[in-house]
């Protein structure tokens, strides 16, 4: 799909992505290309990737590929699209008011929202914080129901 950003399909690609992004936020979006919300997310990412390029890298991961299933399990990705943030190979958590701090579920309403989120992550990471609070007001955060474990 040439209207998507760089999509990773192999675990090794994901690994190298995580390991080679140094001192920049790595935004990994897990999703399926056939999903409209994922495509909307991709649209927003595509528009902002250049603006955040100095402090962030963005990549998409196709969850249908077999190789990355281990990651899907590891990251507990159940709802798509899900976005996980990394900094220097460390996972960054963000408290958005939802139950799951480990990832961002859903798309962003605006390009600026995405930039704000990435900026908040970057600032927290530069200060040495592994968890940051979301700068967006709650009405702009997509809500979701967290599926319970073993369900």
């Amino acid at each position: 799909m040439n209207y998507l950003l760089t999509t990773l399909t192999k675990k090794q690609e994901v690994d190298s992505m995580i390991r080679d992004t140094i001192d920049k936020v790595l935004v990994l979006c897990f999703g399926r290309a056939s999903d409209s919300i994922f495509l909307q997310l991709d649209e927003i990412l595509y528009k902002s990737v250049r603006e955040v390029s100095k402090f962030a890298t963005v990549a998409l991961v196709d969850i249908d590929s077999d190789d990355v299933q281990v990651y899907i399990k590891y990251f507990d990705i159940t709802l798509i699209p899900s976005t996980v943030f990394f900094f220097n190979a460390h996972h960054m958590k963000m408290d958005c008011g939802s139950a799951d701090h480990t990832k961002w579920v859903g798309t962003f309403l605006r390009k600026q929202d995405f930039v704000d989120v990435v900026e908040a992550i970057y600032r927290g990471a530069m200060k040495g914080k592994l968890i940051v609070t979301c700068p967006l007001p709650p009405d702009r955060i997509p809500k979701f129901q967290l599926l319970y474990k073993d369900v």
């Binding site: 140094i22 990251f75 900094f87 460390h90 990471a125 040495g128």
Partner: protein
């Protein structure tokens, strides 16, 4: 216009017109009128809060240090060695007192340059001004004394001035205070009067007088620097022969082909003391002498200045030689070219500097540093890229786990193994699982 609400915590004002400047510091709101901060040079409506802001503190420190350096250079020098003031030079010698906000002119001061300034700095009004300034701008009240002249210093200075005056009046053979140079040794000094004026102008206006620090403008003021050499440095400026025409190239025993005739000076005046006044040049060129004197008090660059004089000793405006700053300018041009060449190097260094200043406490800093080195080595081809193994997992805090992140990974791996075992039993009898040593794991995902 901000509305001022009556605040019960407000202090009672003495004058009603001060209400405009009062602010609700208790409530921390910006209810004040705009006022001008002299240090930051901006209008703000933050009232008393403004002086605690870091920007203001920075601006204030530079502001005060500038004034202090002016004081140190000019006034302190003349405090120690009062020189008589020539009316023509007086117009250039003015000091703007930042605390009292007025210009101190030397129009009718009979004493040395900055006689009026010294008098002002010692006065009570100035003290008041300093106090109110420091209070208003938060400079620290303990620094008051560095901005004024104490009574004792002032009286000392006055005494010196009186002494000087009496000396000048009394000592006939020592030349007159005012009047042309009657220096039998130096005939063509009159030629150099004008150039000296210029030099003095530069000197005074550029505030280069300083007895402690190295003179930055050696190239600029070749004529003056020529005189400055260490041997004279201990003696006061009034002893200096400023205006003696040195273009003659008369050489001093100490080998200085001085532009000015310091020769006499070096010969006959080894001792210091403001009481001693040089026989020939009179006080006309005391200013030039002062300028020179400033130089010589440092004495560090005397050797260079000597060399320079040898180079430029003969030339001056009247002989049509290029001005000394011309050659200096060429040097500067050369330097610029060199700098441009080095620009790239510098910029790359700058980048390196930038990255090295990244917060060491940032997330994954240690890992990042290690990884950078690894990448660097890989680039150079020294280190063969070793795959971290298919089972490498990043540091991840899982959703439903309640331990550290390492635990989460272990947990996951444990789950994985069982899952895989199940799979493997179904698929293959033995599945190859690469063994990842703890070290490799911890290396890659340092927590």
């Amino acid at each position: 216009m901000p509305i001022q609400n009556p605040n019960p915590n407000k202090k009672k004002k003495k004058h009603s017109n001060q209400d405009d400047d009062e602010d609700d510091t208790v409530q921390g709101k910006q209810r004040t009128q705009f006022e001008f901060c002299k240090a930051c040079r901006l209008n703000h409506n933050q009232g008393r809060r403004h002086i605690y802001f870091p920007n203001h503190k920075k601006a204030l420190s530079s502001f005060l240090s500038r004034f202090q350096s002016k004081l140190k250079n000019d006034v302190a020098f003349y405090l120690k060695k009062p020189m008589p003031l020539r009316p023509e030079h007086a117009a250039l010698n003015r000091l703007w007192c930042v605390f009292c906000d007025f210009d101190i002119l030397e129009s009718d001061s009979s004493f040395a340059c900055s006689g009026n300034a010294i008098a002002h700095l010692a006065s009570a009004e100035h003290l008041k001004g300093v106090k109110s300034f420091l209070w208003k701008y938060g400079g620290g009240m303990d620094r008051m004394d560095s901005f004024r002249i104490s009574e004792s210093d002032f009286t000392k200075w006055e005494k010196k001035c009186k002494l000087l005056k009496s000396e000048a009046a009394g000592g006939g053979s020592h030349g007159s205070l005012i009047g042309p140079l009657n220096d039998i040794h130096n005939e063509s000094k009159s030629e150099y009067v004008n150039s000296f004026d210029k030099n003095k102008l530069d000197c005074l206006t550029s505030d280069v007088k300083c007895s402690n620090s190295v003179v930055p403008l050696q190239d600029h003021t070749i004529e003056r620097s020529q005189i400055s050499h260490s041997k004279i440095c201990t003696v006061g400026p009034q002893i200096l022969h400023a205006g003696t025409g040195v273009g003659l190239g008369a050489r001093t025993p100490n080998g200085l082909p001085g532009f000015f005739g310091n020769q006499h000076y070096t010969h006959s005046v080894p001792k210091e003391g403001p009481a001693y006044s040089c026989p020939n040049d009179g006080k006309v060129y005391s200013y030039e002498g002062i300028a020179i004197g400033d130089r010589h008090s440092q004495g560090t660059s005397s050797e260079e200045s000597r060399l320079q004089t040898q180079e430029n000793g003969g030339g001056n405006v009247h002989s049509g030689a290029p001005p000394p700053w011309f050659s200096a300018a060429e040097k500067i041009q050369l330097d610029n070219k060199l700098n441009q060449g080095l620009g790239d190097l510098v910029s790359s260094l700058g980048e390196q500097m930038k990255t090295s200043k990244l917060n060491p406490k940032r997330v994954g800093a240690a890992w990042a540093e290690r990884r950078k080195i690894e990448l660097e080595l890989e680039k150079r081809g020294e280190l063969v890229r070793h795959d971290f193994g298919a089972d490498w997992l990043p540091n991840f805090g899982r959703v439903w786990q309640s331990g550290s992140r390492k635990d989460s990974r272990k947990e996951f791996l444990g789950e994985n193994k069982t899952w895989r075992k199940v799979d493997s039993q179904i698929e293959k009898p033995s599945q190859f699982q690469p063994y990842i040593s703890k070290r490799m794991r911890t290396d890659n995902t340092a927590e």
